[in-house]
Symmetry: none
Subunit: 195 residues, 4 copies
DNA sequence: GTATAAGCGAGACGGTACGTCAAGTCTTTTT
DNA sequence: AAAAAGACTTGACGTACCGTCTCGCTTATAC
């Protein structure tokens, strides 16, 4: 079921405008946080008409999501030889990105909020979440592939859940130590019962 | 450090208005969800002036939070004799409340969203979260009190984190089966390594 | 038809409160003008409950009106021997009061505005206006009593009208010179046609 | 001093919206009077967003003023050959407009009130007043041009003053008879002393 | 090479909700 | 019973953003 590719007529989408919008969105997010991000402000900062944003994205949240996806493209899936080691490395580099300079944590929090308020956006956000889950699930399967699927799923929920929970509530930091403890607990919970 | 108890003069806060506001808020949340909850609507439904809401609560989120706190007052902390059993029971009754008739899940999601957008509210919300954490922490300490504190904290984060994660993302249900798997994994991760 | 004087029971109306209210009202009018006068502010400044104001006056405009009436009690009706002279003297002292230190002009303007917006108050205000008209009318009748009543009425309208018009529109000052010109024109318009 | 005519970009002001707003304002004024006119009601009746009103007018009073100015565009300046005749005709047609079907009198009263309460609006209102004064002044100058300017000004104040005074206080009607008396008194007061 | 189709920056538009202000009323305690 | 204090309902205010709709241009293909 190919996409119909009829060679369209008229002016082409401006890559310059697209970049300017994404960059402006990230910049504004970094400066003021998601709550104070407005479509008007993005348009103004990007030197772009509001319609140009709405032509290509359904909402400001979608813009932020795309901007973010670009950033978070490559978190490496390391190979240390042990489940605990791989998990610790994966979580540590994820947490490091969140503490990064681009206000990534703020953006993620804002997107999760938006997903609660806008069901349309929630669907797009779920795709993003699923792709991250896939990466973590792959690590678990590499070392504990014989465990029941429900347990693997639950383990993923517990790891990413713990991350999001700290991210959203802010009661404790997402640091290396936390990455290590999570890895340790998770590895212990999944290992075969009998040595 | 006594609370100054100067016997106030003038008309007293109307308990009737307070109740009407909280009830109206819960009712509207149940009917339309948090995203469509407005201060005007609460005031109208409660037969109350908007100002009366703003006099006592800083935002509609604070109203919803208070309404919710009343509801969630008593989730029992069971005693089954084992860590896994207690966890499974606690999680199961928590999940049951979330599936309950008052749209509790929707309210919680909305509140978490609000906390991301309004730092002022985030502080109040954190108190609510902390009280729930305390209940779960108590169960863990009863059976695994000798574990390092950081591990207990992380275990709480993983359990409630997993719950919130499913609640917010909606990729899988919060059912009894999930409660059991979480309890199992958590118990295994905390038990002493050697029998 | 005597007023029934049944010796009322309970606490008596506090003259101190009455004075405090009128004084506070005048002071606030002088400071901020009528537009920014609020019942709350009067009550606060007078150290009085709002209800005490509403118990005795129907609106803040009525308070201002009473305060004003006290001030404007005695504008002398002079006797110079000529119509023109009497008019000039009467207008000059009226204008002088308006330029006085108590913000009288501002109060009058505010009351006229209120009368346009509140029919209830308009009635009370009309009484005040009528009493001023009476004073001016008396002067005219003293010297031009044989003129048709309609002309005397019209002359009063033209004199007070001119005053109010300048007061309300503010396009020109209410000074001695204006008082003299008005007196001159009015006297000429009313004198018998033939010497 | 040319008006800078930079050829504006973006969507143009909607004449349809402008008309709808002015028409709605007049209609509401006619129905309910100025005191009960609200920006919300105008917007609703005109099928327009409130912001569209605030974008082009600083207040509801400015809307009413513009609506009114359109109405009162043409009161004829008649030529009867005599000062008294011209004045009588001018005043009579002015009064007739005020009694007209569009609630003009009510609007004018409301605007004068507003001018007392809002200094910003007072400036705009003064322009309107000045234009009316100009028309009357022209008639006076045609027949009594040699009189001192201060007397002409005062005569204008007395005529329009009398009109506004009756309009605002409402103690007597603005009818033909009043127009005639005003014209008579005014003409007599300005004629040369000696035939 | 000229019609036709889209994209673009700008900005006005119809709406919804916000949080504030003041008006006038009602309730509690004190005098 | 009146007073001070202050909470109450009501209703309008002016602002902030939302997402849509023109306007006058600027590119691109298509004829």
């Amino acid at each position: 079921m190919e996409e119909v590719q009829r060679p369209r007529v008229g002016r082409k989408r401006s890559e310059a405008a697209r970049r300017a919008i994404l960059d402006a969105a990230l910049e504004l997010l970094r400066l003021h946080g998601y709550a104070r991000l407005t479509t008007d402000a993005i348009a103004r900062a990007a030197g772009v008409g509001k319609q140009t944003i709405y032509r290509w994205w359904p909402s400001k949240a979608a813009v932020a999501l795309e901007a973010l996806t670009e950033l978070g493209r490559a978190i490496p899936s390391p190979e240390t030889g042990s489940l605990e080691g791989d998990l610790a490395a994966f979580l540590a580099s994820t947490f490091r990105l969140l503490r990064g300079p681009r206000g990534t944590a703020a953006v993620l929090k804002g997107l999760m909020a938006e997903a609660q308020l806008d069901p349309e956006f929630a669907r797009g956000f779920a795709v993003f979440i699923a792709s991250r889950r896939g990466a973590l699930r792959a690590i678990l399967e590499r070392h504990a592939g014989r465990a029941e699927p429900a347990r693997l799923e639950a383990a993923v929920d517990m790891l990413f859940g713990a991350m999001w929970y700290r991210l959203l509530v802010g009661h404790a930091p997402l640091d290396i130590a936390f990455a290590r403890v999570l890895a340790r607990l998770s590895a212990r919970s999944l290992r075969p019962v009998r040595g």
